[in-house]
Symmetry: C2
Subunit: 228 residues, 2 copies
Protein backbone atom coordinates (compact mmCIF):
# COMPACT_ATOMS: atom_id res chain seq x y z
CA UNK A 1 0.00 0.00 0.00
CA UNK A 2 1.27 3.49 -0.77
CA UNK A 3 2.28 5.47 2.29
CA UNK A 4 1.20 9.04 2.91
CA UNK A 5 4.68 10.11 1.88
CA UNK A 6 4.53 8.41 -1.53
CA UNK A 7 0.98 9.66 -1.98
CA UNK A 8 2.15 13.21 -1.56
CA UNK A 9 5.00 12.72 -3.96
CA UNK A 10 2.64 11.13 -6.45
CA UNK A 11 0.27 14.11 -6.27
CA UNK A 12 3.22 16.43 -6.79
CA UNK A 13 4.40 14.53 -9.85
CA UNK A 14 0.90 14.50 -11.28
CA UNK A 15 0.72 18.25 -10.74
CA UNK A 16 4.11 18.65 -12.39
CA UNK A 17 2.86 16.64 -15.38
CA UNK A 18 -0.14 18.94 -15.76
CA UNK A 19 2.08 22.01 -15.54
CA UNK A 20 4.65 20.72 -17.99
CA UNK A 21 2.01 19.87 -20.58
CA UNK A 22 0.52 23.36 -20.21
CA UNK A 23 4.00 24.85 -20.47
CA UNK A 24 4.70 22.87 -23.64
CA UNK A 25 1.34 24.02 -25.02
CA UNK A 26 2.23 27.64 -24.25
CA UNK A 27 5.57 27.21 -25.98
CA UNK A 28 4.13 25.78 -29.20
CA UNK A 29 1.46 28.50 -29.19
CA UNK A 30 4.25 31.06 -29.02
CA UNK A 31 6.16 29.23 -31.76
CA UNK A 32 3.15 29.51 -34.07
CA UNK A 33 2.54 33.16 -33.25
CA UNK A 34 6.17 34.11 -33.89
CA UNK A 35 6.45 31.89 -36.98
CA UNK A 36 3.54 33.76 -38.55
CA UNK A 37 4.99 37.07 -37.34
CA UNK A 38 8.26 36.24 -39.12
CA UNK A 39 6.22 35.84 -42.30
CA UNK A 40 4.00 38.92 -41.92
CA UNK A 41 6.85 41.22 -40.79
CA UNK A 42 9.28 39.61 -43.28
CA UNK A 43 11.60 39.07 -40.32
CA UNK A 44 14.02 36.29 -41.29
CA UNK A 45 16.03 36.65 -38.10
CA UNK A 46 12.96 35.84 -36.07
CA UNK A 47 12.28 32.82 -38.31
CA UNK A 48 15.78 31.51 -37.58
CA UNK A 49 15.30 31.97 -33.83
CA UNK A 50 12.02 30.06 -33.90
CA UNK A 51 13.51 27.20 -35.93
CA UNK A 52 16.34 26.97 -33.38
CA UNK A 53 13.89 27.01 -30.46
CA UNK A 54 12.16 23.87 -31.74
CA UNK A 55 14.85 21.94 -29.81
CA UNK A 56 13.13 23.09 -26.65
CA UNK A 57 9.80 21.68 -27.85
CA UNK A 58 11.47 18.36 -28.64
CA UNK A 59 13.21 18.26 -25.28
CA UNK A 60 9.88 18.82 -23.51
CA UNK A 61 8.32 16.01 -25.53
CA UNK A 62 11.00 13.60 -24.25
CA UNK A 63 10.87 15.01 -20.69
CA UNK A 64 7.10 14.75 -20.38
CA UNK A 65 7.13 11.20 -21.73
CA UNK A 66 9.68 10.41 -19.04
CA UNK A 67 7.46 11.94 -16.35
CA UNK A 68 4.52 9.84 -17.59
CA UNK A 69 6.56 6.63 -17.69
CA UNK A 70 8.01 7.32 -14.23
CA UNK A 71 4.53 7.92 -12.85
CA UNK A 72 3.34 4.64 -14.36
CA UNK A 73 6.38 2.71 -13.13
CA UNK A 74 6.62 4.05 -9.59
CA UNK A 75 3.04 4.72 -8.59
CA UNK A 76 0.99 2.24 -10.62
CA UNK A 77 -1.95 4.58 -10.98
CA UNK A 78 -5.39 3.24 -11.77
CA UNK A 79 -8.70 4.44 -13.13
CA UNK A 80 -8.96 8.14 -13.84
CA UNK A 81 -5.29 8.93 -13.17
CA UNK A 82 -4.15 6.13 -15.46
CA UNK A 83 -6.36 7.49 -18.26
CA UNK A 84 -5.04 10.97 -17.61
CA UNK A 85 -1.40 9.86 -17.86
CA UNK A 86 -1.86 7.73 -20.97
CA UNK A 87 -3.73 10.60 -22.63
CA UNK A 88 -0.84 12.88 -21.62
CA UNK A 89 1.55 10.55 -23.43
CA UNK A 90 -0.46 10.91 -26.61
CA UNK A 91 -0.94 14.66 -26.28
CA UNK A 92 2.78 15.39 -26.21
CA UNK A 93 3.12 13.70 -29.60
CA UNK A 94 0.55 16.08 -31.06
CA UNK A 95 2.22 19.08 -29.44
CA UNK A 96 5.61 18.04 -30.79
CA UNK A 97 4.16 17.77 -34.29
CA UNK A 98 2.57 21.20 -33.93
CA UNK A 99 6.09 22.44 -33.12
CA UNK A 100 7.30 20.90 -36.39
CA UNK A 101 4.57 22.73 -38.29
CA UNK A 102 5.77 26.04 -36.78
CA UNK A 103 9.25 25.21 -38.10
CA UNK A 104 7.78 24.49 -41.54
CA UNK A 105 6.04 27.89 -41.50
CA UNK A 106 9.39 29.55 -40.69
CA UNK A 107 11.08 27.71 -43.54
CA UNK A 108 8.48 28.97 -46.00
CA UNK A 109 8.79 32.47 -44.46
CA UNK A 110 12.56 32.44 -45.06
CA UNK A 111 11.94 31.58 -48.72
CA UNK A 112 9.09 34.07 -49.17
CA UNK A 113 11.09 36.86 -47.52
CA UNK A 114 13.63 36.64 -50.34
CA UNK A 115 11.06 37.57 -53.00
CA UNK A 116 8.73 40.57 -53.35
CA UNK A 117 5.58 40.15 -51.27
CA UNK A 118 2.76 38.69 -53.36
CA UNK A 119 -0.13 39.89 -51.23
CA UNK A 120 -0.83 41.23 -47.75
CA UNK A 121 -1.40 38.47 -45.23
CA UNK A 122 -4.84 38.78 -43.66
CA UNK A 123 -6.37 35.32 -43.39
CA UNK A 124 -3.14 33.59 -42.32
CA UNK A 125 -2.75 35.57 -39.05
CA UNK A 126 -6.46 34.94 -38.43
CA UNK A 127 -5.97 31.18 -38.90
CA UNK A 128 -2.94 31.31 -36.60
CA UNK A 129 -4.94 33.06 -33.89
CA UNK A 130 -7.74 30.50 -34.01
CA UNK A 131 -5.29 27.59 -34.04
CA UNK A 132 -3.42 28.99 -31.04
CA UNK A 133 -6.66 29.40 -29.14
CA UNK A 134 -7.66 25.84 -30.05
CA UNK A 135 -4.39 24.50 -28.62
CA UNK A 136 -4.82 26.51 -25.42
CA UNK A 137 -8.44 25.46 -24.98
CA UNK A 138 -7.79 21.79 -25.78
CA UNK A 139 -5.13 21.69 -23.04
CA UNK A 140 -7.32 23.60 -20.58
CA UNK A 141 -10.01 21.04 -21.33
CA UNK A 142 -7.47 18.29 -20.63
CA UNK A 143 -6.29 19.52 -17.24
CA UNK A 144 -9.80 20.49 -16.14
CA UNK A 145 -11.42 17.42 -17.74
CA UNK A 146 -13.85 19.88 -19.36
CA UNK A 147 -15.64 18.10 -22.20
CA UNK A 148 -17.76 21.14 -23.14
CA UNK A 149 -14.63 23.13 -23.85
CA UNK A 150 -13.16 20.16 -25.75
CA UNK A 151 -16.29 19.98 -27.89
CA UNK A 152 -15.99 23.70 -28.64
CA UNK A 153 -12.45 23.12 -29.93
CA UNK A 154 -13.70 20.40 -32.28
CA UNK A 155 -16.34 22.77 -33.61
CA UNK A 156 -13.86 25.61 -34.12
CA UNK A 157 -11.90 23.41 -36.50
CA UNK A 158 -14.49 24.10 -39.21
CA UNK A 159 -13.57 27.77 -39.30
CA UNK A 160 -9.90 26.95 -39.87
CA UNK A 161 -10.81 24.49 -42.62
CA UNK A 162 -12.88 27.17 -44.33
CA UNK A 163 -10.08 29.72 -44.13
CA UNK A 164 -7.68 27.16 -45.57
CA UNK A 165 -10.03 26.45 -48.48
CA UNK A 166 -10.42 30.19 -49.07
CA UNK A 167 -6.64 30.78 -49.11
CA UNK A 168 -6.23 27.81 -51.41
CA UNK A 169 -8.72 29.27 -53.92
CA UNK A 170 -7.13 32.69 -53.67
CA UNK A 171 -3.59 31.41 -54.30
CA UNK A 172 -4.85 29.31 -57.20
CA UNK A 173 -6.32 32.47 -58.76
CA UNK A 174 -2.93 34.16 -58.51
CA UNK A 175 -1.28 31.18 -60.21
CA UNK A 176 -3.78 31.09 -63.05
CA UNK A 177 -3.55 34.81 -63.72
CA UNK A 178 0.21 34.95 -63.66
CA UNK A 179 2.52 31.97 -63.82
CA UNK A 180 5.28 34.15 -62.30
CA UNK A 181 3.46 33.92 -58.97
CA UNK A 182 3.31 30.11 -58.81
CA UNK A 183 6.29 29.62 -56.56
CA UNK A 184 5.17 32.21 -54.02
CA UNK A 185 1.49 31.30 -54.18
CA UNK A 186 2.35 27.66 -53.56
CA UNK A 187 4.39 28.58 -50.49
CA UNK A 188 1.58 30.72 -49.07
CA UNK A 189 -0.81 27.85 -49.67
CA UNK A 190 1.59 25.56 -47.79
CA UNK A 191 1.65 27.89 -44.78
CA UNK A 192 -2.14 27.81 -44.74
CA UNK A 193 -2.05 24.01 -44.93
CA UNK A 194 0.39 23.85 -41.98
CA UNK A 195 -1.98 25.97 -39.90
CA UNK A 196 -4.86 23.72 -40.88
CA UNK A 197 -2.87 20.72 -39.68
CA UNK A 198 -2.06 22.53 -36.42
CA UNK A 199 -5.79 23.00 -35.85
CA UNK A 200 -6.28 19.29 -36.65
CA UNK A 201 -3.78 18.38 -33.94
CA UNK A 202 -5.63 20.59 -31.44
CA UNK A 203 -8.85 18.85 -32.48
CA UNK A 204 -7.20 15.47 -31.96
CA UNK A 205 -6.24 16.53 -28.44
CA UNK A 206 -9.80 17.69 -27.73
CA UNK A 207 -11.20 14.39 -29.02
CA UNK A 208 -8.82 12.47 -26.77
CA UNK A 209 -10.00 14.55 -23.79
CA UNK A 210 -13.62 13.68 -24.53
CA UNK A 211 -12.66 10.04 -24.81
CA UNK A 212 -10.66 10.20 -21.59
CA UNK A 213 -13.56 11.68 -19.61
CA UNK A 214 -16.61 10.13 -21.26
CA UNK A 215 -15.14 6.95 -22.72
CA UNK A 216 -16.94 8.02 -25.89
CA UNK A 217 -15.31 8.64 -29.26
CA UNK A 218 -16.67 11.61 -31.21
CA UNK A 219 -14.00 11.20 -33.87
CA UNK A 220 -15.46 10.41 -37.28
CA UNK A 221 -18.94 11.55 -36.35
CA UNK A 222 -20.53 13.06 -39.44
CA UNK A 223 -22.00 15.79 -37.30
CA UNK A 224 -20.79 16.88 -33.89
CA UNK A 225 -23.34 16.58 -31.07
CA UNK A 226 -24.64 19.89 -29.64
CA UNK A 227 -23.38 18.82 -26.21
CA UNK A 228 -21.51 15.90 -24.72
Amino acid sequence: MPTEHTDKRYEEELKKLREEILYMGGLVEDQIQKAVKSLVDRDSNLAEVIIERDHEVNRLDVDIDDVCIRLLALHQPAGRDLRFITTGLKITTDLERIGDMAVNICERALELNQEPQLKPYIDIPRMAQISQRMIRESLDAFVREDTDLALKVCKDDTEVDQLNAQIFRETLTFMIENVQTISRATKISSVSKYLERIADHATNIAEMVIFMVKGKSIRHMKELPPSI
Copy 2:
Protein backbone atom coordinates in the same frame (compact mmCIF):
# COMPACT_ATOMS: atom_id res chain seq x y z
CA MET B 1 4.63 -10.63 -6.11
CA PRO B 2 3.06 -11.93 -9.30
CA THR B 3 2.26 -15.63 -9.28
CA GLU B 4 3.16 -17.95 -12.11
CA HIS B 5 -0.47 -17.83 -13.14
CA THR B 6 -0.60 -14.02 -13.48
CA ASP B 7 2.81 -14.07 -15.17
CA LYS B 8 1.47 -16.39 -17.82
CA ARG B 9 -1.61 -14.27 -18.32
CA TYR B 10 0.55 -11.19 -18.55
CA GLU B 11 2.72 -12.76 -21.25
CA GLU B 12 -0.41 -13.76 -23.14
CA GLU B 13 -1.82 -10.25 -23.01
CA LEU B 14 1.49 -8.79 -24.16
CA LYS B 15 1.48 -11.25 -27.03
CA LYS B 16 -2.10 -10.28 -27.84
CA LEU B 17 -1.06 -6.63 -27.88
CA ARG B 18 1.70 -7.34 -30.39
CA GLU B 19 -0.66 -9.34 -32.58
CA GLU B 20 -3.42 -6.73 -32.49
CA ILE B 21 -1.04 -3.93 -33.45
CA LEU B 22 0.27 -6.03 -36.36
CA TYR B 23 -3.31 -6.82 -37.35
CA MET B 24 -4.26 -3.13 -37.28
CA GLY B 25 -1.15 -2.38 -39.36
CA GLY B 26 -2.17 -5.03 -41.90
CA LEU B 27 -5.65 -3.56 -42.06
CA VAL B 28 -4.51 0.01 -42.73
CA GLU B 29 -2.04 -1.31 -45.32
CA ASP B 30 -4.94 -3.00 -47.06
CA GLN B 31 -7.03 0.16 -46.75
CA ILE B 32 -4.34 2.15 -48.56
CA GLN B 33 -3.86 -0.45 -51.25
CA LYS B 34 -7.60 -0.66 -51.97
CA ALA B 35 -8.09 3.11 -51.71
CA VAL B 36 -5.50 3.61 -54.46
CA LYS B 37 -7.01 0.72 -56.44
CA SER B 38 -10.41 2.44 -56.30
CA LEU B 39 -8.72 5.47 -57.88
CA VAL B 40 -6.67 3.64 -60.51
CA ASP B 41 -9.51 1.26 -61.53
CA ARG B 42 -12.11 4.06 -61.21
CA ASP B 43 -14.03 1.72 -58.92
CA SER B 44 -16.38 3.87 -56.82
CA ASN B 45 -18.03 0.86 -55.20
CA LEU B 46 -14.69 -0.21 -53.80
CA ALA B 47 -14.08 3.34 -52.53
CA GLU B 48 -17.39 3.20 -50.63
CA VAL B 49 -16.51 -0.16 -49.10
CA ILE B 50 -13.13 1.14 -47.91
CA ILE B 51 -14.66 4.29 -46.40
CA GLU B 52 -17.14 2.10 -44.55
CA ARG B 53 -14.40 -0.23 -43.31
CA ASP B 54 -12.63 2.65 -41.55
CA HIS B 55 -14.95 1.89 -38.60
CA GLU B 56 -12.97 -1.27 -38.07
CA VAL B 57 -9.72 0.71 -37.92
CA ASN B 58 -11.26 3.07 -35.36
CA ARG B 59 -12.58 0.18 -33.30
CA LEU B 60 -9.12 -1.40 -33.21
CA ASP B 61 -7.63 1.92 -32.09
CA VAL B 62 -9.97 1.96 -29.08
CA ASP B 63 -9.54 -1.78 -28.40
CA ILE B 64 -5.74 -1.67 -28.45
CA ASP B 65 -5.70 1.37 -26.20
CA ASP B 66 -7.86 -0.63 -23.79
CA VAL B 67 -5.46 -3.57 -23.91
CA CYS B 68 -2.55 -1.21 -23.15
CA ILE B 69 -4.37 0.45 -20.28
CA ARG B 70 -5.46 -2.90 -18.85
CA LEU B 71 -1.88 -4.18 -19.03
CA LEU B 72 -0.68 -1.07 -17.20
CA ALA B 73 -3.42 -1.26 -14.58
CA LEU B 74 -3.32 -4.97 -13.81
CA HIS B 75 0.29 -5.96 -14.27
CA GLN B 76 2.24 -2.79 -13.48
CA PRO B 77 4.96 -3.54 -16.00
CA ALA B 78 8.37 -1.93 -15.67
CA GLY B 79 11.41 -1.24 -17.79
CA ARG B 80 11.36 -2.60 -21.28
CA ASP B 81 7.75 -3.82 -21.18
CA LEU B 82 6.54 -0.46 -19.91
CA ARG B 83 8.33 1.31 -22.78
CA PHE B 84 6.85 -1.21 -25.21
CA ILE B 85 3.29 -0.61 -24.00
CA THR B 86 3.54 3.18 -23.89
CA THR B 87 5.01 3.14 -27.40
CA GLY B 88 2.12 0.89 -28.45
CA LEU B 89 -0.32 3.50 -27.17
CA LYS B 90 1.29 6.12 -29.38
CA ILE B 91 1.57 3.86 -32.42
CA THR B 92 -2.17 3.18 -32.58
CA THR B 93 -2.78 6.91 -32.90
CA ASP B 94 -0.55 7.02 -35.97
CA LEU B 95 -2.22 3.94 -37.45
CA GLU B 96 -5.66 5.40 -36.90
CA ARG B 97 -4.62 8.60 -38.69
CA ILE B 98 -3.21 6.55 -41.56
CA GLY B 99 -6.67 4.99 -41.77
CA ASP B 100 -8.16 8.47 -42.07
CA MET B 101 -5.79 9.27 -44.93
CA ALA B 102 -7.01 6.14 -46.78
CA VAL B 103 -10.57 7.47 -46.37
CA ASN B 104 -9.46 10.83 -47.76
CA ILE B 105 -7.95 9.08 -50.79
CA CYS B 106 -11.27 7.29 -51.37
CA GLU B 107 -13.17 10.58 -51.13
CA ARG B 108 -10.95 12.14 -53.81
CA ALA B 109 -11.30 8.94 -55.90
CA LEU B 110 -15.10 9.22 -55.75
CA GLU B 111 -14.85 12.79 -57.04
CA LEU B 112 -12.24 12.02 -59.70
CA ASN B 113 -14.21 9.00 -60.95
CA GLN B 114 -17.03 11.31 -61.94
CA GLU B 115 -14.87 13.20 -64.43
CA PRO B 116 -12.80 12.04 -67.40
CA GLN B 117 -9.42 10.74 -66.34
CA LEU B 118 -6.76 13.46 -66.53
CA LYS B 119 -3.73 11.20 -66.77
CA PRO B 120 -2.70 7.60 -66.12
CA TYR B 121 -1.68 6.98 -62.52
CA ILE B 122 1.90 5.71 -62.35
CA ASP B 123 3.66 7.44 -59.48
CA ILE B 124 0.70 7.27 -57.10
CA PRO B 125 0.57 3.44 -56.98
CA ARG B 126 4.36 3.50 -56.55
CA MET B 127 4.04 5.89 -53.59
CA ALA B 128 1.30 3.69 -52.12
CA GLN B 129 3.50 0.60 -52.38
CA ILE B 130 6.42 2.26 -50.62
CA SER B 131 4.16 3.69 -47.91
CA GLN B 132 2.56 0.30 -47.28
CA ARG B 133 5.97 -1.32 -46.99
CA MET B 134 7.09 1.43 -44.60
CA ILE B 135 4.10 0.73 -42.33
CA ARG B 136 4.76 -3.01 -42.38
CA GLU B 137 8.45 -2.59 -41.68
CA SER B 138 7.95 0.01 -38.94
CA LEU B 139 5.65 -2.40 -37.09
CA ASP B 140 7.97 -5.36 -37.65
CA ALA B 141 10.72 -3.17 -36.21
CA PHE B 142 8.42 -2.45 -33.24
CA VAL B 143 7.59 -6.03 -32.34
CA ARG B 144 11.14 -7.26 -32.97
CA GLU B 145 12.75 -4.15 -31.42
CA ASP B 146 14.82 -3.96 -34.62
CA THR B 147 16.38 -0.51 -34.85
CA ASP B 148 18.18 -1.21 -38.15
CA LEU B 149 14.86 -1.89 -39.82
CA ALA B 150 13.38 1.21 -38.18
CA LEU B 151 16.24 3.30 -39.52
CA LYS B 152 15.63 1.92 -43.01
CA VAL B 153 12.01 3.09 -42.79
CA CYS B 154 13.15 6.61 -41.89
CA LYS B 155 15.47 6.62 -44.89
CA ASP B 156 12.78 5.37 -47.27
CA ASP B 157 10.70 8.44 -46.46
CA THR B 158 12.92 10.52 -48.76
CA GLU B 159 11.75 8.56 -51.79
CA VAL B 160 8.11 9.24 -50.97
CA ASP B 161 8.86 12.94 -50.48
CA GLN B 162 10.54 13.05 -53.87
CA LEU B 163 7.62 11.34 -55.60
CA ASN B 164 5.24 13.76 -53.91
CA ALA B 165 7.28 16.75 -55.14
CA GLN B 166 7.34 15.25 -58.64
CA ILE B 167 3.58 14.73 -58.72
CA PHE B 168 3.08 18.24 -57.40
CA ARG B 169 5.15 19.73 -60.25
CA GLU B 170 3.40 17.57 -62.80
CA THR B 171 -0.10 18.54 -61.67
CA LEU B 172 0.95 22.20 -61.57
CA THR B 173 2.02 21.91 -65.22
CA PHE B 174 -1.43 20.58 -66.11
CA MET B 175 -3.05 23.51 -64.31
CA ILE B 176 -0.91 26.10 -66.03
CA GLU B 177 -1.45 24.64 -69.48
CA ASN B 178 -5.18 24.29 -69.13
CA VAL B 179 -7.32 25.88 -66.45
CA GLN B 180 -9.99 23.25 -67.14
CA THR B 181 -7.80 20.69 -65.41
CA ILE B 182 -7.37 22.62 -62.15
CA SER B 183 -10.04 20.80 -60.21
CA ARG B 184 -8.81 17.34 -61.16
CA ALA B 185 -5.11 18.19 -60.92
CA THR B 186 -5.67 19.58 -57.42
CA LYS B 187 -7.38 16.38 -56.33
CA ILE B 188 -4.58 14.20 -57.69
CA SER B 189 -2.10 16.41 -55.89
CA SER B 190 -4.11 15.91 -52.68
CA VAL B 191 -3.97 12.13 -53.04
CA SER B 192 -0.20 12.38 -53.38
CA LYS B 193 -0.06 14.57 -50.29
CA TYR B 194 -2.14 12.02 -48.30
CA LEU B 195 0.31 9.28 -49.26
CA GLU B 196 3.19 11.49 -48.23
CA ARG B 197 1.55 11.96 -44.84
CA ILE B 198 1.01 8.21 -44.53
CA ALA B 199 4.74 7.72 -45.05
CA ASP B 200 5.37 10.41 -42.43
CA HIS B 201 3.25 8.47 -39.93
CA ALA B 202 5.23 5.30 -40.68
CA THR B 203 8.42 7.31 -40.15
CA ASN B 204 7.06 8.58 -36.83
CA ILE B 205 6.45 4.99 -35.75
CA ALA B 206 9.97 3.99 -36.77
CA GLU B 207 11.42 6.94 -34.84
CA MET B 208 9.46 5.93 -31.76
CA VAL B 209 10.82 2.38 -32.07
CA ILE B 210 14.39 3.70 -32.14
CA PHE B 211 13.64 5.84 -29.12
CA MET B 212 12.01 2.92 -27.32
CA VAL B 213 15.02 0.64 -27.85
CA LYS B 214 17.95 3.04 -27.77
CA GLY B 215 16.53 5.90 -25.70
CA LYS B 216 17.89 8.10 -28.47
CA SER B 217 15.85 10.49 -30.60
CA ILE B 218 16.80 10.60 -34.29
CA ARG B 219 13.86 12.87 -35.04
CA HIS B 220 14.96 16.27 -36.35
CA MET B 221 18.45 15.11 -37.23
CA LYS B 222 19.56 17.00 -40.33
CA GLU B 223 21.10 13.81 -41.64
CA LEU B 224 20.23 10.29 -40.60
CA PRO B 225 23.10 8.24 -39.15
CA PRO B 226 24.33 5.33 -41.34
CA SER B 227 23.54 2.93 -38.48
CA ILE B 228 22.05 3.14 -35.03
